[in-house]
């Protein structure tokens, strides 16, 4: 591999990119979850009739038992919850919905059997600790997405 042409050839770099738009169907189960967020500021889960776990976001089938969720499985959860784990992000990248520093939390919504992951902001992040109570801060311009909750924030600031 010591041929002269290899040493003399400076490799070129091709700059490019891919912009690939999608229109993802949310499905009826997910759509009901997001419509409740958008129109009623309600968080919904559904309960497995076998293991009794309340899943958020709601599922077609219980992920563990693989039993179909019935029409009567839906229940309202939260909107308040308890912080389970958190991280404070100090770097930025273009897919983040807000500038750093901000936090992510794994949050146990009241009455839910599994946690959700969401943003935490609007507070001194240094005061975050597991077990504190959180409430959602609703986006004023709700579109039927997970960011209809702008972020969660500690109750009482």
């Amino acid at each position: 591999m010591d041929d002269q042409w290899r040493q003399e050839t400076k490799p070129l770099i091709l700059e490019g990119g891919i912009h690939m738009p999608y229109t993802w169907t949310v499905g009826r189960t997910g759509s009901r979850f997001f419509i409740e967020l958008r129109d009623h500021r309600r968080l919904m889960g559904n309960r497995c009739s076998k293991c009794q776990v309340v899943w958020v976001p709601p599922r077609l089938r219980c992920p563990e038992c693989y039993i179909a969720m019935g029409d009567d499985s839906w229940i309202e959860v939260g909107p308040e919850g308890t912080l389970r784990h958190f991280t404070i992000v100090n770097y930025s990248h273009p897919a983040q919905p807000m500038p750093p520093p901000f936090a992510y939390g794994i949050i146990d919504l009241d009455r839910a059997g599994r946690a959700i992951t969401h943003l935490i902001a609007g507070t001194n992040l240094n005061n975050l600790k597991p077990g504190i109570r959180l409430k959602p801060v609703w986006s004023p311009n709700r579109q039927g997405t997970i960011l209809d909750i702008a972020y969660f924030t500690p109750i009482g600031g």
């Binding site: 490799p11 993802w24 389970r84 404070i88 992000v89 770097y91 990248h93 949050i107 997970i146």
Partner: protein, 382 residues
Amino acid sequence: MTVNKVAVVGVAQTRFARQKSDQNFADLVYEATTGALEDAGMTIDQIDNVVTVSNDFWDGRTISSMAVMDACGSYGKNISTVEGDGTFGALYGAMRIWSGSFGTTLVVAHSKGSEGDPFLITNSMFDPFYHRPLGLEAISSAALQAQAYVDRRGASPEDWAHVSVKNHQNAKRNPYAQLPLDLTVEKVMSSPMKSYPLKKLDCSPVSDGACAIILADEDRIKHSQQKPVWLKGVGYAAELHYLGDRDLANPLALKIAAQKAYSMSGIANPTKDLDFLEVYDAFSYMEPLWLEGLGISLPGEGGKLAREGVSAINGRLPVNASGGVLSAHAVLVAGLVRLIEVVLQIRKTAGAHQLDRARIGLAHGINGPCGQSHCVWILGEI
């Protein structure tokens, strides 16, 4: 279950670097493929089929195996692809021999982390509805798992710093590693906070590189000039994708995978029966957490192994003597490199990081956020 015995008869890896601007990914695959053939003492016409390991988002094109089909010598052969860690590529390759369909398989993995945007690409591993819009990616999701490990098990970031010191030090003996570093616990602890509690030196680097293995059944190993290293057991399992569905401090899928691999290879007590391990430490905390999942440590006690020197290169049970993923992290490639490192140790050709006792070793790979799925291999000299 009785299955055909399958051995690894050829291995190769490129040197790993932050940016290999003199080689495109086909060049890397060509280097790994020809290296593995040379190592095995075989020619391409003795390879029955090829499994490639790649990811379309990292490559920036769909059907990314087709970009390398000529480089891996698959002209006129069956080529199939695993879009996941290289340990799963080895699994698919071995299954193609265990099924009786093929006598030899070449498994080749490539990745160029330098060419895309690792934040945007790893953000794209999350579902588009619930997680991706939050901006989560590899580092911040791992940070949630690291903090879960602290909250649930009392794990200590200082213990993880010992892992970072150990593995970067081990990398100084490994010419293929990207980040050989002289560190101290204090240096790791005072490195910039990326996503609390993970600091810069708790995180693996962005890497370019490739690697390949050649698998052969008992009939076909005689075509190889190389000492065979046997696949003695394998286990694999996945758990749920949403982070909140899981107890992130309890690697359930790894426990299942490990038990399957131990059962298949007749390992009753992994701490005693294994001579060494190569595990997927994409972040420093992962090494102790995975050691707990593998049944090497009790829950919450994985951090002791690095802190007390048990997992050191000269310790009782060396872990990541190669420097691990912390010292070179070509995504998807890195798990197959763990398997290659186990092969080199068992052959006693690992060079400066050769272990004294290396008759039976464990190689481990992960896929998905926070180790959503795991593959565990046991390899041995007999």
